[in-house]
């Protein structure tokens, strides 16, 4: 517990252990996510990707271990603190769109901004812009149950990106999509992350999608294996970061 997280890691986890009512999901995962990078977490179904993203994104409390965001501890936060962190700092796209059914597409996208205290007009303008960027601008006034699954998933992406949170988590965002839509969604996610210097943590079961990431780690049965970035014990200079990262291209 003595080691402070490295400065250039926006998210830093050490020895996370998490089980769901006795079923172990994570068995000691240590990971650093650098600011502005696109990190892919790969692994088959049931390997613990969703749980890892849940722990990193302050949705789930960890059983053991530490999670730090911007040099502030997340694992010690209570429920309200984690809610605030999720609302103000994190964006999330799941494998299902998980939209609020009674709200229109525009209201769904504007909701995180409204929750964070933005004015109604600014929130709706931003929502319209992001819907336009994802080619669903004409569906702004339609409720999700009248839309195709691919359109709903694009609304979910717009909702995660609209507040421009420092970190965006995407948990198998292409699972419900056909290939061409999946490509479009991933291109939008990664290009938005790059152009706005957002950090993107992308969990996927599809090893092909690793090509969108700067770096990839593999998760098997709740443990990181393969091209794992060793957790730096001391603040590392940005120049040395490359030695710890395994380029996605070589994977």
């Amino acid at each position: 517990m003595a080691a402070a997280p490295p400065d250039n890691d926006v998210l830093w986890a050490r020895g996370i252990v998490k089980s769901h009512h006795g079923t172990p999901a994570l068995r000691g995962v240590s990971l650093g996510v650098r600011e502005g990078e696109v990190l892919a977490v790969t692994g088959p179904r049931g390997s613990g990707k969703s749980t890892l993203l849940g722990c990193l994104s302050a949705l789930l409390p960890v059983d053991e271990g530490e999670v730090w965001f911007n040099s502030a501890p997340v694992h010690t936060l209570g429920r309200a603190g984690r809610e605030r962190l999720r609302r103000d700092r994190f964006g999330f796209v799941g494998s299902e769109p998980h939209l609020v059914p009674e709200l229109t597409a525009r209201e769904n996208v504007a909701l995180p901004l409204l929750l964070a205290g933005a004015g109604g007009k600014a929130a709706h303008t931003a929502a319209d812009e992001w819907l336009e960027r994802l080619d669903i601008g004409e569906l702004a006034k339609v409720r999700p149950d009248r839309l195709l699954q691919s359109q709903r998933q694009r609304i979910a992406v717009a909702r995660a990106l609209a507040p421009l949170p420092p970190v965006v988590f995407a948990d198998d965002p292409t699972a419900p999509l056909h290939r061409e839509t999946a490509d479009q969604v991933l291109r939008i996610l990664t290009s938005a992350a790059r152009s706005h210097q957002l950090t993107l943590v992308l969990a996927t079961h599809d090893p092909e999608l690793v090509r969108y990431a700067d770096r990839a780690v593999a998760l098997v049965d709740g443990r990181l294996t393969g091209p794992v970035a060793p957790v730096p014990r001391a603040p590392a200079a940005p120049g040395t970061a490359g030695t710890t990262a395994v380029p996605a291209a070589g994977h």
Partner: protein, 383 residues
């Protein structure tokens, strides 16, 4: 045995539903048997017996309504059970039969217990006080009570079977429910309310009291005129049908302009639920309004007070309230996904609770208006 095994997995709300169904079935059976007993004691007064039988219809309808609402909610609330049954090879008809059979069994149990009590009481246990009601001293034709009592589980079971929704969807992917109201669905109740108000005004005009032919209402409710009764009935039906659209408009009003998250969630939620919530809330409001209007007639004159209308009113109110509770539970299950999405976004639970409170207040206001208008019109028409 299968039902007993299903019942073992029941939670409080399911057991409450089962007990309410059984209790309601028992009470309706008691009404039916009382009508039979009176008819046996006094075979000459045929039309009175018919009236007594007709008075059994409102409670029977209430039980059927509750059974239908409960059966409608069951697949949504116990999705894993239906999925399990479907995966095991049970088809739509079998699931329908299972749910209807469960309701019929509950009603049958209640009715059977009542019949047992009836037969016990006929052995001169209650003394002469109940002799007329039980048809004591007259031989009981075996087919009569069985036919009457089969009516209760049969009606409730059929209502339940008709209400079970069936959609061929993947488990966990419910079919989206329509939310809006069509133009006819709006025009009809508005027309009914206007017509009813006009009739009521004609009935209440100065000098209308001279109209010669008052209608004597049952259960000591006094007299009224044809125009007043018809006007009230049209208004009550129109207001009941209008409850759903009014709830939807109230939701729009809450979220008007550029709403805060609280107003947005409360308003849009109310609008989305208006169609499903409208019917059970309207039935409960109508029943409450009628009971509140008539209760003073029972309380005012002890001599005319009869315990049977009170029991009947209690049964109808209980079934209507039970239907509202079941529908609310169903909607809560349906909203679980949306709530999880909101919590995932970091919405404070306080905000969600606030939205529910605001929504409830708004819905309560709408019901106060429709129920109050129904009760006021009824009170105005009675003399």
């Amino acid at each position: 045995m299968f039902y007993l095994r299903l019942a073992r997995g029941y939670r409080a709300l399911d057991l409450g539903r089962w007990l309410l169904t059984a209790l309601a079935g028992a009470v309706v059976a008691a009404f039916l048997l009382r009508a039979l007993g009176r008819a046996m004691s006094d075979p000459v007064a045929g039309s009175d017996a018919l009236v007594r039988l007709l008075w059994c219809l409102p409670p029977l309808a209430a039980v059927a309504w509750f059974a239908a609402v409960a059966a409608r909610a069951l697949p949504a609330r116990r999705a894993e059970r239906i999925t399990g049954l479907t995966t095991a090879g049970a088809g739509a008809a079998r699931i329908r039969a299972l749910i209807a059979g469960e309701v019929a069994l509950a009603c049958g149990t209640g009715a059977g217990l009542t019949l047992l009590l009836f037969l016990i009481l006929r052995n001169d246990i209650a003394g002469p006080a109940l002799a007329d009601e039980l048809g004591m001293g007259v031989a009981l034709p075996a087919a009569a009570p069985v036919a009457l009592l089969a009516l209760v589980p049969l009606t409730a079971g059929l209502a339940a079977a008709g209400a079970v929704p069936h959609a061929e969807t993947l488990p966990g992917r419910p079919r989206p429910e329509p939310t809006g109201f069509g133009p006819w669905r709006l025009a009809l109740p508005i027309g009914l309310v206007v017509l009813g108000l006009a009739l009521e005004l004609i009935a209440l005009r100065p000098g209308a009291a001279a109209d010669g032919r008052p209608i004597h209402l049952p259960a000591g409710l006094g007299t009224t005129s044809t125009a007043a009764l018809g006007g009230w009935a049209a208004c009550a039906l129109g207001l009941a049908l209008l409850t759903g659209p009014l709830l939807g408009w109230a939701g729009r009003l809450l979220a008007v302009g550029r709403p805060t998250p609280l107003r947005l969630l409360a308003g849009r939620g109310l609008t989305a639920q208006a169609r499903r919530l409208g019917a059970p809330l309207a039935v409960l409001t109508l029943a409450l309004a009628m009971v509140l209007t008539t209760i003073r007639y029972w309380l005012g004159e002890p001599g005319s007070a009869d315990v049977l209308p009170a029991i009947e009113a209690g049964l109808v109110l209980g079934c209507a309230a039970g239907a509202v509770a079941v529908r609310l539970a169903e909607l809560r299950t349906a909203r679980r996904g949306g709530c999880e999405a909101l919590l995932r976004l970091g919405t404070a639970p306080r905000l969600l609770v606030g939205a529910v409170v605001l929504r409830t207040l708004m819905a309560g206001t709408v019901l106060l208006v429709t129920g109050g208008a129904t009760a006021a019109l009824a009170a105005a028409g009675l003399r």
